[in-house]
Symmetry: C2
Subunit: 393 residues, 2 copies
């Protein structure tokens, strides 16, 4: 990336907090599914545990919609524990004494990988054009995200990943890795995910995008010109998404009293209740997440349809695969219901693939893949250890 681009990519768009991220920059960039080339392209990443001499112990973890590469360490903006720190570390299912665990910020994101907040570049000259991509950022696909990750693993000299693992949108990437680079993935563990986004999930994303588009501060995506962000729209988008991540029981536990306890006598008293919730939900999120990245990434999820990429037959995506698969779903997850994991398992069976599947009984909803679920952690850790033994790690 040209110095000017690097410089402007580091220019904060208040109140978005900017920090320096570890990243690799690829001058030739990437040709996207939409036919546009982005060059240069940057991939921000973090790794935990040592890459062995044979480079055979690398596990790529793919993050979900609003997560990032800070997998197993405090987040540089929020200070919160890494989003999978509960299972990544010495002696944990992702045993960093044994594995080299890599996590990248997805293409289109806002934590160091090339995205709408970065300076727009001319692919021919690779020069910065003096303003952010904003809504001119090309539409990307889950496969484009995977291609960017492949640029990084290639640059690290990793010919074959021991495993690609991810939940939700991360699971979409794990499926896409196995379909696009079968020889580069010994094992794949798509968790709480699906081979395409349902109409209902798309519709909920549409609500979030509509809320962002409806915020006057969004200014048709050119909010960076005024140094503001569509905080209210982004907060509402976060709020509706948050609901879909939880089961009815989890919602009742988490918000039941707050939602029903008030003894307000007029509407305005409720206003403050809701606004305080918005402040709480939105304030940290809008400081760490860019609205145009949210639009870009939700759109990539909505257009994901692995079967469609293979003539409408999902099993064709895995024909002849040697990759070992492990899928997990959660019984109370209504965003990515078990039935959608089963559809992937059936397709893998039709491809005579090596596949294991477990449905974890829990009342925590979609979020369960991030939470304390010992059965899930034992099953996933066992799968990784078994694959490591096969490879001789």
């Amino acid at each position: 990336m040209s110095p000017s681009a690097a410089a402007s990519a580091a220019t904060p768009i208040a109140p978005f907090q900017e920090v320096e991220h570890q990243r690799a920059v690829f001058p030739e960039g990437l040709m996207l599914d939409c036919g546009v080339r982005i060059a240069p392209v940057a991939v921000a990443w973090r790794a935990y545990g040592k890459l062995n001499a044979a480079r055979s112990n690398a596990i790529l973890v793919c993050h979900a919609l609003t997560a990032d590469q800070y997998l197993a360490e405090p987040h540089p903006l929020t200070g919160k524990e890494g989003w999978w720190q509960n299972i990544v570390g010495p002696g944990k299912p992702f045993d960093t004494d044994r594995y080299h665990v890599i996590c990248t910020n997805v293409l289109g994101g806002c934590m160091g990988s090339t995205g709408p907040r970065d300076e727009m570049t001319d692919a021919a000259t690779k020069r910065g054009l003096g303003r952010p991509w904003g809504t001119d950022f090309p539409n990307i696909t889950i496969r484009d995200m995977v291609r960017a990750q492949k640029l990084l693993t290639d640059s690290l000299g990793i010919e074959r990943l021991l495993a690609v693992v991810g939940g939700s949108m991360g699971g979409m990437q794990a499926l896409e890795w196995a379909a696009t680079y079968p020889d580069s993935v010994f094992a794949a563990a798509p968790v709480a995910t699906a081979a395409h986004h349902s109409a209902q999930n798309i519709a909920f994303h549409e609500v979030g995008r509509a809320a962002i588009h409806s915020d006057p501060a969004w200014r048709n995506g050119r909010y960076w010109e005024t140094g503001t962000v569509p905080a209210r729209g982004l907060s509402v988008a976060r709020m509706v998404a948050h609901i879909t991540y939880l089961s009815e029981k989890a919602l009742a536990r988490k918000f039941g009293r707050r939602l029903r306890g008030a003894s307000a006598v007029t509407l305005l008293e409720d206003v403050f209740e809701v606004q305080s919730y918005l402040r709480h939900q939105g304030s940290t999120f809008v400081r760490r997440f860019d609205a145009n990245s949210y639009l870009t990434i939700t759109r990539a999820m909505d257009y994901f349809d692995l079967a469609a990429e293979h003539g409408g037959d999902l099993s064709a995506a895995f024909r002849g695969t040697k990759t070992r698969f492990f899928l997990a779903s959660f019984s109370s997850d209504w965003l990515f219901p078990t039935e959608e994991s089963r559809a992937v398992v059936r397709a893998l069976n039709r491809a005579a693939a090596n596949v294991g599947f477990v449905e974890i009984t829990t009342d925590k909803g979609h979020d369960a893949f991030l939470l304390e679920e010992p059965d899930f952690h034992r099953a996933l850790g066992g799968f990784l250890a078994g694959c490591a033994a096969r490879v001789g790690v």
Copy 2:
């Protein structure tokens, strides 16, 4: 209602369209559950079919969140067919050759019954205070809505309704009628409803309210001062609610192509797609519905908990009841799932009540209660005819 109040209640808040509604005004008003008295109180209503001499053939239909009293005739604002016109009319399940079918606009609404858009009044003097209630409108409950309806039916000399029928929030009112005025209800048919609002349903309402609160045009509820409405917030609220009314299959049928078909190359192209959807969804809605009414009515739904009104035992709400009950749910309704109707049926059984229940198999979701569902219409029509025969109508 004082002339001044009547006048200002007819003052349009652009772009809300105002029309004259048939209504009854009760000077003494109503004491609400929140302890506030509203006086005077107006109840807007429509009726279809002739009330017989014995006044024994009256059926009260209660409407859902965004519907109104225009049950079986073209809507005065939208020109669309009445919301239950498919089953209310001569020879239809609600046979207007046989029954006198009444529908009122709910208290807190914006189609003629007293609500936030009406002029604030002083209950002691019954004088208008020269400005709309807005967010000073007292919080109302489903039971308050029912009390307002009772004022009307009493004024019509109807001692006992042949039946009270409603879907969704209308079903909450039907349950409340049977619990609060058991001797005034020969039969009750709560459809696609529940005895309390689930945490998930409350949370989705919170998103809608947050979207309205986040629209700068809402101006803390005082948008009437500037003659504007929070159209964008109200549109987003309508959009999220709309999704919850449909099943995954119905969504795929209705929006599938629109949501996925676009081949946009940059985000901005999607913007227009979404904004056109918003315009389409929102434009008619914001012209016919008041934002503060939306806040008032959704809140009433969220606080509805019939068991809590009766010491935590739902069956206590129906102890000793002579009312005949008929409940119906729809298999793909995830907003008011069959399980919630079953919970009501179990409570009625514990009260040794006369109750019938049917789950209709359909893929249309919650909206099914409004659509062409011949099995549902036959069952409901049969129940009404059976009750009429019992009463001798």
